[in-house]
């Protein structure tokens, strides 16, 4: 062991002194570290009290849950495999078309909502708030509304996903546009290009890969949400699933769930392959 290292090890106090600031938080930080967990726990206790959680139900509930799970095996199609397959196809169609429509609508809007391409701060503010409002309403509620507009069936689901995703994608796209490098656009402008050309050649190449990744990510998540909107009659496998749970046909529930799991796994696999092909190994948020 070198002399230098020995000295350091012997002199633990010197080392401690050098890094004293790592150990001594301000009183405020210390108080926060103490109070924050207490506050979280306190609020949880208040929540349990306020909601009047019936603890006595947990035992029997778990027992009946175990019974349900026992009923799930072996999974069975209940004799209507083609119905389930069709419903799964519907689910995929809802997710695909919903995402597609949302993309087509959200893309132009996002330019109006991005700081660096918006024509006016007022326009930007109004569009941002509009997108927030759309996003604040769950897809299932949109589905309920659209069932009233176009009737029962997958079309209502497509429109519901399209609307609720327009809000989310519009926000994400505009953030992607805002985070672009200005220099590419400026150089197009400096070469005498119009604003439109600057966007086409200076901005689009930067955002397209990011946007493509986000679209794929949303498609994945929409496959998941399209499996439930059937509960309100907006098409897809959710209708069968909710009916089977209500009628306690748990073997069929298990089958439908397995179908969903496999489908989602395949879609995830395909889309992650595509995503890596487009943007490389980068996280998409």
């Amino acid at each position: 062991m070198s002399a230098r290292r020995t000295m350091h090890l012997d002199d633990a106090n010197a080392v401690l002194d050098r890094h004293r600031n790592l150990f001594n938080g301000t009183p405020l930080q210390r108080a926060a570290a103490f109070v924050a967990p207490l506050g979280i726990a306190g609020f949880a206790i208040f929540a349990v009290w306020w909601l009047a959680i019936p603890f006595s139900q947990i035992g029997p509930g778990l027992a009946s849950l175990a019974k349900f799970i026992a009923l799930m095996f072996p999974p069975s199609t209940g004799g209507h495999l083609h119905l389930l397959l069709k419903a799964m196809g519907e689910t995929l169609a809802i997710a695909f078309l919903g995402t597609l429509i949302a993309t087509v609508v959200a893309f132009p809007i996002s330019f109006l909502a991005a700081r660096n391409t918006s024509p006016h701060a007022g326009v930007r503010f109004a569009i941002r708030r509009g997108l927030d409002t759309i996003r604040g309403v769950d897809a299932l509620i949109w589905a309920l509304v659209f069932v009233g507009v176009v009737g029962l069936g997958p079309f209502a689901g497509i429109l519901a996903i399209a609307v609720s995703d327009t809000g989310a994608l519009g926000k994400l796209f505009s953030e992607a546009i805002e985070s672009t490098e200005e220099r590419a656009r400026e150089s197009v402008l400096a070469n005498g290009g119009t604003g439109l050309l600057a966007v086409r050649f200076g901005l689009l190449p930067q955002v397209l890969p990011i946007i493509a990744g986000q679209i794929l990510y949303y498609f994945e998540s929409n496959v998941r949400s399209a499996t439930i909107i059937g509960i309100v009659g907006a098409g897809g496998i959710g209708l069968q699933l909710s009916e089977q749970i209500r009628t306690y046909d748990f073997d069929q529930v298990a089958f439908a769930v397995i179908m969903i799991l496999i489908t989602v796994a395949i879609i995830d696999w395909i889309s992650s392959k595509l995503r890596f092909a487009i943007i490389g190994r980068r996280a998409v948020v």
Partner: protein
């Protein structure tokens, strides 16, 4: 070509131009291919999705008029009374909204707590056992792929109507999503502190506590806050199947065409989500700021 600043010989230029055209042509063909695939998928999906544009065009007036109908009738002359009329059940709805927030809170807390304990066993860089890691990852996947409403429906059957079913459904879904995010956060840490702790002969728990946890704590908190906001939104939906919260009233209002109630409840949910969004975003910015310093 005296005015040209290019000093590339003509022959070389032609080669370069040909290269350029070939490259552009290749990309054009690629884009066309993608568009063609998209078009085919669209037609197939349109078939499956029973897309009926005529239906949409015929009924789109329903959609716009729907928003006309759910708008409250407010007049300036009688504003106070009109608002009071619109929010005739404000006390009851506020209580239900608080229920929803608390359901989301408890669900997030339980789900995040469970995910926190499992994430270190599922991360590739820390996991003590490969088999354990694989099975935890599959459990996460299962919990986030099965829709929370399906869990809610089952729990309503098992535990009875009420918030307990909603809390558990949200907790399970949160467990699945946060488990995945937490695991990824742990997989992205700098391994040097972990190795430092390991070299002192520590056990797994100490390795996690002193090597990994300080690196991931702020991103864990940030993900959890983001999930909380999402859960408030889905908490407003699980009520539709009887799992507590404001969703039940909203569902009834939409189904029974109590138009002004729909807008009143929706407005409350939107404002609530927006406020939570703002607050959590503040905290998250703080947390990520801390991350950069330390």
């Amino acid at each position: 070509m005296t005015s040209s600043i290019l000093s590339v010989p003509q022959a070389r230029l032609e080669v370069l131009l040909a290269d350029y055209r070939r490259e552009v042509g290749r990309r054009r063909r690629q884009s066309l291919l993608v568009l063609a695939i998209l078009a085919i998928l669209m037609v197939i999906a349109g078939r499956f999705g029973e897309v009926d544009l005529n239906n949409l065009v015929d009924n789109i007036s329903n959609f716009t008029s729907y928003f006309g109908r759910i708008l409250p009738k407010l007049s300036i002359a009688n504003f106070g009374a009109d608002v009071a009329d619109w929010y005739w059940n404000v006390a009851g709805w506020l209580k239900l909204l608080l229920d929803t927030i608390l359901i989301a809170y408890l669900g997030t807390l339980i789900g995040a707590g469970a995910a926190f304990m499992m994430a270190f066993f599922a991360a590739a860089d820390l996991a003590p056992s490969k088999a354990l890691r694989w099975s935890i990852k599959r459990i996460f996947e299962f919990c986030r792929t099965v829709p929370d409403l399906v869990f809610a429906l089952m729990f309503v059957s098992a535990f009875g109507l009420g918030p307990l079913a909603g809390i558990l459904a949200i907790a399970i879904h949160t467990f699945g999503t946060l488990g995945k995010l937490f695991t990824e956060a742990v997989e992205n840490i700098d391994m040097k502190p972990v190795e430092g702790v390991r070299s002192t002969g520590s056990r797994f728990v100490e390795m996690v506590r002193f090597g990994a946890l300080p690196q991931v704590m702020s991103s864990f908190a940030s993900y959890t806050l983001l999930r909380f906001e999402i859960n408030v939104r889905s908490g407003s939906v699980v009520g539709m199947v009887g799992a507590g919260g404001i969703g039940q009233d909203l569902f009834v209002a939409i189904r029974k065409f109590y138009y002004s109630d729909v807008s009143a409840i929706l407005l409350m949910i939107i404002v609530c989500v927006a406020v939570i969004d703002l607050v959590t975003e503040r905290i998250r910015h703080r947390l990520s700021g801390q991350d950069k310093h330390g």
